[in-house]
């Protein structure tokens, strides 16, 4: 280590080919650093492909605990022949390149401004794996050893991470550990670690926290939130959410003695069916959800409108990816919020929840199930590929203390006490009617659910007035949902405001701190639900100029803000990033400090 060594502040990048088995290696590295008490933010940039296309795994290491991407590749492990030139180019001056010698010899790298380590990965792995396929997998473990040695990772912590990664498979654990050790020994013998400008040093900055994928956190929210029904159609990046729910439910909702399940799941034939299954289950009283991505949302449009108008609970998780159409299925965007809020034909508006990070995915998934039953309507939980499929550092998730909110359901006893039951009548003045569940044994209970014109007592109608009464009440109902939906998180001071949501929040957080250090104080309003709360408008009013930071081309949230307060529209501007890569602080800094795009002088 020298005086110029950078401790705990760099981004590690591993360039490999997808399907080559590097996921385990990368997880082991990220977990080891995390368990050394140093915060990590891993981002997997993977292609829409099973094997053979380039993949980069980035681990941002910072003591400050930034969770957004850095946009840098300070320490690169180059393992992919097809991207080697690009990977060499992207290492910033002063950075490190560990290259597989079979791909590029050290003297052929051609960068005098970076530290280059060439390692014969394949040769080191060879003695451990006679089979070429296995050898390829094991070569990934060689770089784990090399990187561990160069960064000074704790060997015991690393060993434990390898154990956990292959838990229960002792032979596999031993083989992988042997290869990791071979990598370490090679580095000790042949590489000068003192030339490496980056080191990881133990800290105590991750105590009590967990590492979890957003999709797992949302699935756990569904489990703890009492979801009993899941219908889904495989689509990236949402499949692993449903699969995680099914795994949790199989373990925790199945009577081990009898095999009786306290949940049901259907892998549907398409998203038309998955939303139909959810609506049927919700109508009959199950707490039902589906998870999908943009293309699936499009297919769900008709039935979602039906559920809005017929007032059937449903939770739809949209793990957003780049659109339109197939777009870039494995890249990140926040471009479905407009579509989801208005999904379907006719005058339709849905409750939309906007979590940021795994903790909120877990909490708001539970709340979505409550809100869907409370408001008897579809509720969208907007996740993103970045949040859903990457591992995130998170405060430990809390055991839910609140009872499940099953909403205004009249059972047999309730009906006996009620003077009358009219399915679509506003009894309490909050726009939310009472409902009964099929199978309720009382003469007042039955009603007929239809998407066509209906009266307050669920009768068929084509009468203008009767139709309007129902439609206007629906508007009041959804508008009133801001009573119960999560309020915006507002902080800071100054004349410049930043409105944001979802994964953009982490970039905004970092940008605000950098700006503050330069003397520019900003306010922040993190929106967590649609329809927008009045506080958001108050926030705009309190600022001279407001930037809505979002990951889509059209400024979808900015439009919603302008529509809600047209008199303030001119002070609402956009900072947009929609290339599909994980959001960084840079686009915000570009606008607010460097002035590359749109200078601001307050």
């Amino acid at each position: 280590m020298t005086a110029s060594t950078v401790v705990n502040d760099f981004t590690l990048s591993v360039a490999t080919v997808n399907g080559s088995g590097s996921a385990s290696s990368n997880t082991i590295l990220a977990k080891t650093i995390f368990r050394m008490g140093v915060p990590v933010a891993p981002k997997n940039l993977f292609p829409s492909n099973i094997a053979g296309l380039p993949t980069w795994y980035l681990v941002r290491v910072t003591e400050r605990g930034w969770k957004c991407a850095s946009g840098r590749r300070d320490f690169t492990v180059a393992f992919n022949e097809t991207t080697i030139d690009q990977d060499i180019r992207l290492v910033p001056p002063g950075g490190v390149l560990v290259v597989d010698e079979d791909i590029r010899k050290a003297e052929q790298v051609g960068r005098s401004d970076i530290t280059v380590y060439a390692v014969p990965m394949g040769s080191i792995a060879k003695p451990f794996g006679p089979d070429p396929r296995l050898r390829k997998l094991l070569a990934n473990m060689v770089y784990v050893g090399v990187v561990a040695e160069l960064l000074g990772l704790d060997l015991e912590v690393l060993r434990q991470a390898v154990h956990d990664q292959f838990a229960g498979k002792e032979k596999v654990v031993k083989l992988n550990l042997d290869v990791v050790m071979a990598g370490i020994e090679h580095a000790r013998a042949h590489l000068d670690a003192s030339r490496c400008p980056f080191r990881v040093q133990r800290r105590n900055l991750t105590g009590g926290q967990i590492l979890i994928e957003g999709n797992q956190a949302a699935a756990l929210g569904a489990l703890m939130g009492g979801a009993t029904f899941c219908a889904w159609y495989p689509i990236t990046p949402s499949s692993s959410l449903c699969e995680a729910f099914i795994d949790y439910a199989r373990e925790h909702r199945t009577d081990q003695a009898t095999g009786v399940a306290r949940f049901a799941q259907v892998q549907a034939e398409d998203e038309l069916a998955s939303i139909g299954l959810v609506i049927g289950a919700g109508w009959a009283g199950a707490r039902a959800f589906t998870a999908t991505a943009g293309p699936g949302i499009s297919l769900m449009a008709e039935l979602t409108g039906f559920a809005y108008y017929a007032e059937v609970p449903a939770v739809i998780v949209d793990v957003q990816r780049v659109g339109p159409s197939t777009g870039m299925p494995t890249r990140n965007q926040q471009s479905d919020i407009r579509c989801c809020q208005r999904l379907s034909h006719g005058d339709t508006e849905h409750i939309v929840l906007l979590p940021a990070g795994p903790e909120e995915l877990y909490e708001l998934m539970q709340q979505a199930l409550d809100l869907a039953e409370r408001y008897q309507t579809p509720v969208f939980l907007m996740s993103e590929l970045d949040m859903g499929m990457n591992i995130w550092m998170s405060q430990p998730l809390r055991y839910p203390e609140r009872p499940l909110d099953r909403g205004k359901v009249l059972d047999k006893e309730g009906l006996k006490a009620a003077a009358e039951f009219a399915r679509y009548k506003d009894v309490d003045g909050d726009g939310i009617p009472y409902r009964t569940l099929p199978g309720t044994h009382h003469p007042k209970a039955p009603y007929f659910t239809r998407g066509s014109g209906h009266t307050e007592s669920a009768g068929y109608t084509e009468d203008a007035q009767e139709y309007r009464v129902v439609l206007d009440r629906l508007k009041r109902k959804i508008d009133g949902s801001t009573r119960d939906t999560p309020r915006p998180v507002i902080e800071g001071e100054g004349e410049i405001g930043l409105i944001h949501f979802g994964s953009s929040a982490f970039a905004v957080e970092e940008a605000r701190e950098i700006l503050s250090a330069k003397g520019l104080r900003t306010r922040s309003c993190r929106v967590r639900a649609l329809p927008l709360h009045d506080e958001v408008m108050d926030f705009v009013r309190a600022c001279k100029v407001v930037y809505v930071v979002e990951q889509n081309r059209d400024g979808q949230l900015a439009d919603s803000v302008r529509l809600r307060a047209p008199e303030l529209a001119t002070r609402v501007r956009s900072i947009l990033e929609y290339g599909g890569l994980p959001m960084t602080a840079q686009p915000i800094l570009d606008v607010l400090s460097v002035g590359k795009r749109e200078p601001v002088h307050v």
């Binding site: 967990i210 590492l211 979890i212 756990l220 703890m224 009492g226 009993t228 029904f229 219908a231 949790y248 925790h252 909702r253 009577d255 095999g259 009786v260 399940a261 306290r262 049901a264 799941q265 259907v266 549907a268 034939e269 398409d270 038309l272 069916a273 139909g276 299954l277 959810v278 609506i279 049927g280 289950a281 109508w283 009959a284 009283g285 199950a286 039902a288 039935l303 039906f306 430990p396 998730l397 055991y399 839910p400 009872p403 499940l404 009964t436 569940l437 099929p438 199978g439 309720t440 044994h441 009382h442 209970a445 039955p446 009603y447 007929f448 659910t449 239809r450 998407g451 066509s452 068929y460």
Partner: protein, 347 residues
């Protein structure tokens, strides 16, 4: 079962208790006949009306759930989407008697994908297709079950072969495949009762003439044609354990198919026909024969395979006695210890 001697069924309900709203379909519509048979069958079988979930899509047929079992719960969903909605409801509350009513457009065109997959999953439901070979509500377009060469009133001729839903269901492994005619009340009632008793997907493809758009004399889905060409495979009866003993009125020993719940489907030979509905090959042969002979329609129970040999979705899903809809938080939320165990893997 004789309603003439009893005012109430074995659960103490009158036939009126199974009635619904007044129909708004055309006078003489086959669908209204089927509505009547559903009411009759539910009454005779003593179905608990509060447990009935009536599901449908869009079309004339899909309107009919409003016209029967008003004490049941109905959901008139979107075009072609009833199978998924019905499957969701059936899993949410396995005590429900799910009755789906669809049409040839709703099932054989826009809803074909969902129909096929509901059969494949073996959703526990009665699925009645009120099949008239024409789009009624949109005024007379051909449907996917219209015969090739069929005419409609406008004079247009259908260029495409029809889809045989029974053949399709049979080949998809459906455990209860029947074809019937809305005008044959005795057969329809027996089939609906048997379909309700069957655990799993029960298809009744009921030819149900459209008096307004497809009742021409040469239409194979018109009343005149069916009266002249409908060949019943058997005289069909349904006997449940609670039914009054039947008085034998006709000679001959009927074929009796036992159902796992103790009911029997009684099939009495008619003319030269002798069909054993547990014989898959025989069912295939009948459908192939009808296909070769345009206009020939054979009705009755084509194929039956009990749930014991063909488990319904709720069994595959290992559902317990308490419906999912009625489980409380204590049965749904894992304990604190279990929760901490889940999180432990993430430290």
């Amino acid at each position: 079962m004789s309603e003439t001697t009893a005012q109430t069924n074995h659960v103490g309900l009158k036939k009126d208790d199974y009635g619904g709203a007044k129909t708004t379909l055309c006078v003489g519509c086959g669908h209204d006949q089927i509505t009547r048979w559903i009411i009759q069958a539910a009454y005779e079988s003593g179905v608990d009306p509060y447990n009935v979930a009536k599901t449908s899509g869009i079309g004339c047929s899909s309107k009919t759930p409003a016209y029967f079992i008003g004490r049941g719960f109905g959901i008139n969903s979107c075009h072609g989407r009833m199978p998924s909605v019905a499957t969701g409801a059936s899993l949410a509350n396995r005590n429900l008697v799910v009755i789906g009513v669809s049409g040839d457009g709703d099932t054989a065109s826009i809803g074909m994908g969902q129909f096929v997959h509901a059969v494949r999953r073996n959703t526990d439901m009665v699925y009645i297709v009120e099949n008239n070979g024409v789009y009624g509500l949109t005024k007379g377009q051909f449907s996917a079950t219209s015969d090739k060469g069929a005419h409609v009133k406008s004079g247009e001729t259908n260029a495409f072969a029809d889809i045989d839903l029974c053949n399709l269901a049979l080949n998809l492994g459906c455990g209860f495949v029947a074809r019937s005619f809305s005008g044959d009340g005795k057969q329809m009632v027996a089939l609906i009762r048997a379909a309700i008793a069957h655990r799993g997907f029960a298809l009744i493809d009921a030819i149900s003439p459209c008096v307004t758009f497809n009742n021409l004399p040469d239409s194979s889905k018109g009343f005149q044609w069916l009266r002249e060409h409908d060949v019943a495979l058997h005289e069909l009866g349904f006997v449940a354990p609670y039914d009054a003993p039947q008085v034998e009125q006709q000679p001959g020993v009927p074929l009796s198919v036992d159902m796992p719940d103790g009911s029997h489907i009684v099939l009495r030979r008619l003319g030269d026909n002798e069909h054993d509905p547990t014989d898959f090959k025989a069912a295939e042969n009948i459908l192939a024969r009808d296909r070769r002979t345009p206009g020939r329609i054979e009705t009755g129970l084509l194929y039956y395979k009990p749930a014991t040999l063909n488990p319904p979705l709720e069994d595959i899903a290992h559902l317990g006695d308490t419906p999912l809809a009625l489980l409380g938080a204590e049965e749904l939320r894992p304990s604190r210890g279990a929760f901490e165990g889940i999180l432990a893997a993430h430290h």
